[in-house]
């Protein structure tokens, strides 16, 4: 089986890795690059726990082959905080208890940031639809949605 040599940019840093053709980007992130913030939930694109962005577009890393990362820019949850300073979404999730077990949280944060990067004034319906691909079995979603709405309001200076 031939391994592919892939050159990519992950969280702003150039990276190189070797991958098998069927290995997913999630496998590579977690097992080779030690970026274990992206979680493996369903492995079928249903739960969103592995949400990352590729060239700025939100995707499930489990539905991307590692080889497809060639020449692309990948952003993961590990790049969300700046040093010890949490991103406002991370801070708000803590303050408003928008997590319980925490397994889905990285995916929610990456997905919510992707929304707010595009739209700093989403309606609650827009937030709920945007995050519909992220499943949480603990919170019931309300606290997550409220946190995202509150951060959006803060970003607008309200």
């Amino acid at each position: 089986m031939s391994k592919h040599h892939v050159t990519s940019t992950v969280n702003g840093e150039p990276v190189e890795f070797l991958c098998e053709p069927q290995e997913t980007l999630l496998d590579i992130l977690r097992d080779q690059l030690d970026l274990t913030g992206s979680k493996e939930g369903c492995s079928s694109g249903d739960c969103g726990a592995c949400s990352v962005t590729i060239d700025g577009r939100l995707v499930c890393a489990c539905l991307v082959l590692g080889a497809e990362a060639e020449g692309r820019k990948i952003e993961t949850i590990e790049n969300m905080a700046e040093g010890d300073t949490l991103h406002p979404l991370q801070q708000k999730f803590l303050e408003e208890a928008a997590l319980q077990c925490g397994f889905c949280t990285p995916g929610f944060l990456v997905a919510a940031k992707s929304l707010l990067d595009r739209n700093d004034n989403p309606t609650e319906t827009e937030v709920r639809y945007w995050l519909a691909g992220n499943l949480c079995r603990c919170t019931g979603y309300d606290k997550i949605v409220k946190s995202v709405m509150d951060v959006a309001a803060e970003m607008r200076g309200e």
Partner: protein
């Protein structure tokens, strides 16, 4: 596990060569939202995966004098961000906007949705209603096939060995045209269509329908172009009599299955209802 190879050709010619040499075990990778799931579940054991996302022609949208070209590997989110396309064919865009989550829409493509050949593919009735034509490249050159002629049944297409759908051509709509797509699912979001209905129509200055196309999905082994549904609308002002005739034509065309999402009887009735509602939205859009 059987050996899998991966290739990301930069040209159609190279991709076609790989697909032709790869035989029956070669698979195109566009968005991967079906392929990778099938791979993971062990339902598919490809010998070769041909990633087409390095081919410019398959990954771009262009606006020409008379038509739009959408690369078969353009993701749904990108189609929805294209303002001119969204204004011209809002029904096609809303169909793509119904497929899966934000994450799925960032990957899933028109080419994949068509070639996966599910009878319930949401973009397909909308494309058929929009008179979309697929340009297919193969070892013997290119050919154009209307979208309604691509699927032969669940999971089966008319594509021959080595052939790839390169792009879709959608005409620029005539003045006073509109289209719409609606689907029925048992929940509000992210499910597989129990019924889908796409309608496009054009009216004259008096509001009389001069051209129409009606397509329904998830109610037969393939997505159906319902010619009798279009006939029911043409020459009318989309009044109750025309809508009743449309509903009857759509229901009459159905040959659905019973499954957990809906019974044969329910699907057959809903096909008529959805076709009418889509026609009314398309009609409303002829005014904007």
């Amino acid at each position: 596990m059987a050996q899998i190879e991966y290739a990301a050709p930069a040209s159609i010619k190279e991709a076609v060569g790989l697909m032709a040499n790869g035989g029956n075990s070669a698979r195109v990778l566009a968005g991967g939202t079906d392929l990778l799931v099938q791979l993971r579940a062990g339902r598919l054991k490809p010998g070769l995966i041909v990633d087409v996302k390095s081919i410019d022609e398959m990954c771009s949208i262009s606006v020409n004098k008379n038509d739009f070209r959408i690369g078969a590997a353009v993701c749904g989110a990108e189609v929805n961000e294209h303002k001119r396309l969204k204004k011209a064919w809002p029904g096609v865009c809303e169909a793509l906007d119904l497929i899966g989550s934000t994450q799925i829409q960032g990957r899933a493509t028109l080419g994949g949705n068509l070639c996966n050949a599910s009878p319930a593919a949401d973009s397909v009735p909308a494309l058929i209603a929009a008179s979309a034509v697929a340009t297919i490249a193969g070892p013997n050159g290119r050919r154009k096939v209307p979208v309604e002629k691509i699927s032969k049944g669940p999971g089966k297409t008319v594509l021959k060995k080595g052939e790839i759908v390169v792009y879709f051509t959608l005409p620029k709509p005539a003045p006073r045209s509109g289209d719409a797509y609606l689907r029925m699912i048992p929940r509000t979001e992210m499910d597989i269509a129990m019924v889908g209905a796409g309608v496009s129509l054009t009216v004259d200055k008096s509001g009389t329908c001069t051209a129409a196309r009606v397509a329904i999905g998830a109610v037969a082994p393939i997505v159906l172009l319902v010619a009798d549904g279009a006939k029911a609308l043409i020459g009318t002002k989309i009044d109750d009599a025309a809508l009743n005739a449309l509903a009857a034509a759509a229901s009459a065309a159905c040959n659905p299955i019973d499954d957990m999402r809906g019974t044969i009887e329910y699907r057959t009735q809903v096909a008529g209802v959805l076709a009418c509602r889509a026609a009314l939205i398309a009609f409303e859009r002829t005014r904007s």
